[in-house]
Symmetry: C2
Subunit: 357 residues, 2 copies
DNA sequence: TGTTAGCACTCAAACGAAGCGAGTGCTAAC
DNA sequence: GTTAGCACTCGCTTCGTTTGAGTGCTAACA
């Protein structure tokens, strides 16, 4: 595939291409020369436009579903459109007053939970855009610090292990312990663990520390093992990136999914969490806001779809990514604006202190 | 609508009705008299069957999509089928060895979490039946006991409230507290709370108890309020029934959802958690295993669907419900067997001690 | 040389008639 | 009561026709 050279296209061709894509995104129908000549009066006749369209097709920016139909953008066309042609919608994308209230009230809620907020955000994005939102929260690559670690007696033979991470996520697991472990012993273990582990990174935990706990609490090492297991389990849960999909059924409203087979493929894909995580993280690693058009995506079943992702960071730490999945003919401008909008909201909400815009 | 009288139908009509429904469930096509005469040789000619079919139609058990087509069961027909005609499949429904391993390994996992197990079970049910599974876990009507309640210092001005319930569910919330509250104070509060609340029912908690905590710890009552708020929040979370849907896309494989509009209606419905909870709980209140056929369901959009639900109890306490959603023409026998199967598994797993079969 | 009017051509989609065939109801005979 | 036979119904498929949006090309024009 040839790399785009800036002056390959004169400005008139650009203008026409933009008009075609704009129209196609709106009308969902192949665009003919007459439509462009009439609707976007650029002082040219349909015949001229026709010639230009033929050129654009030859250059690979457009294609024809069949001879006697209008033109539709190719992937290359969309790419150029996204990179250089489209104008970002600044207005009309703002959520309704009601939705705004929703967000605000959620954000101001004292109890801040990352995954809850991401969920909330994804719902807004999906509703604003009418496409499906995919949320991946958590970031297995960053190293987490432990804020607090406690062991809590539940009943004889059962203990709860609890970890609070530096992003205020809480993970816990219940383990069976030797019945000889009393509530009082657990309390001591708890104090020691807290003292020893708080402020440390997850990967700093090692067997020596366990030994220290055993010594200082007087609890036999053997009996501590289930507790260590519980800690490991908590960490595993914390490392697990969570995926969540919102508004899958919205996709069915778009004509490109009228084919039930295609619809099914995509919907089934949305259940495959590992694939989704891969896909989204693949994008997010490339930077802030990424647009993947059609086959730019590695997943075969998404060849007729585009994905736009935005990553969220607070204090330089990437906490999650929200992606929007829609047909290749999506309203890129709307999607990007919506994502930017909730990103701002999320980052302010999560950061705690609202920044000046 | 006339109520079914047991001897309204002679046994031959019953046999024919059963054959028709069996065939329809399998073939997904209207069933003609010739098919029945040939496939299920009951020593009758197609003409005779035709007469009987005409009778059955008149009685409301069958209907014709159009004059020159075969018959399909009506809701009344399905009802009779489910109640008295169908034979439960005992074989062929058992999960594959692989799936069995899956279940076992999950069930034996020491760390037992209700919602995780229900999720697992729902996936199995959905896979076995090829329909959508709906899980509602938690039961707002039963009164929960608190096994443990703790407050954990997280950092200055932040505390974690933690509740362990009698079914081993763990709920927590992080609240902002007055910075003057030290970790040491929180520990004391924790001990007192645990002492005071453990073993009590959620609804037993009252302001007097808070006062007691304030007195015995010497922490001003005012400063305890955020903590109370956290407790309330935990309880709210615990009372929230959780809903979860598995395998929604499987529905699309069935011909009755070839119509994209219908498919969309149902898929959208699956996002409406409150409606789902209502529906499932409405069934589960009626007893163990419930079949709702077509319009027996209150939800309009599900008029072409049936729902089969099974509730799970341990020690007489209802913990959750799994439902299967499919087209009215679902394989009821298969669905019921599958639900029974995982119910057994779940109840054994949750009860702790495996019972003899 | 670029633009435009005009015209022949293409082809998917919409429409309609014809034929097929699965299935029925009815009648008459067994 | 059962069955064979037959006329009839009606949705589906097939196939030819028409329609119309849209094109490419050519020739004339500025």
């Amino acid at each position: 595939m040839k790399v785009l050279e800036p002056n390959e296209l004169d400005s008139r061709k650009m203008l026409i291409l933009k008009a075609i894509i704009d129209d196609y995104i709106e009308s969902k129908e192949p665009v003919g020369s007459r439509t462009i000549a009439k609707k976007y009066d650029m002082g040219l006749s349909s015949a001229t436009i026709r010639n230009e369209m033929a050129d654009l097709e030859e250059m690979g920016y457009l294609s024809q579903p069949h001879t006697s139909a209008g033109r539709i953008p190719s992937e290359k066309g969309y790419r150029l459109y996204v990179d250089r042609l489209m104008n970002l919608k600044e207005q009309g994308i703002e959520p309704t007053a009601e939705e705004l209230g929703d967000i605000k009230s959620h954000m101001q809620h004292k109890i801040s939970e990352l995954s809850e907020q991401m969920r909330m955000a994804s719902e807004i994005v999906s509703r604003l855009t009418d496409y499906t939102a995919i949320v991946v929260s958590g970031n297995s690559r960053r190293s987490m610090r432990i804020k607090a670690l406690q062991t809590v007696p539940v009943e004889t033979g059962k203990a709860l292990i609890l970890i609070v991470l530096d992003d205020d996520r809480v993970k816990n697991s219940i383990v069976s312990v030797d019945p000889s472990i009393t509530a009082e012993m657990l309390m001591r273990i708890s104090v020691q663990c807290n003292l020893l582990f708080s402020g440390h990174r997850v990967e700093d935990i090692n067997m020596d520390m366990i030994d220290t706990v055993a010594e200082s609490t007087g609890v036999p090492r053997m009996l501590l093992y289930p507790i260590v297991e519980g800690i490991v389990e908590c960490i595993r849960k914390a490392e697990n990136t969570e995926v969540y999909t919102e508004g899958a059924s919205r996709l069915l409203a778009h004509p490109e999914f009228n084919d039930i087979g295609k619809a099914r493929n995509v919907l089934e894909l949305l259940n495959k969490e590992d694939l989704l995580v891969d896909m989204i993280q693949d994008c997010s690693s490339a930077g802030g806001l990424v647009v993947r058009i059609g086959s730019e995506n590695k997943i075969q079943d998404l060849n007729d779809c585009s994905v736009v992702t935005a990553s969220y960071s607070v204090n330089g730490v990437e906490l999650g990514t929200i992606g929007v999945l829609g047909p290749t003919r999506m309203d890129y401008s709307k999607v990007i604006s919506a994502l930017e909008y909730v990103r701002k909201g999320l980052e302010e909400g999560l950061g705690g202190k609202p920044k000046a815009e």
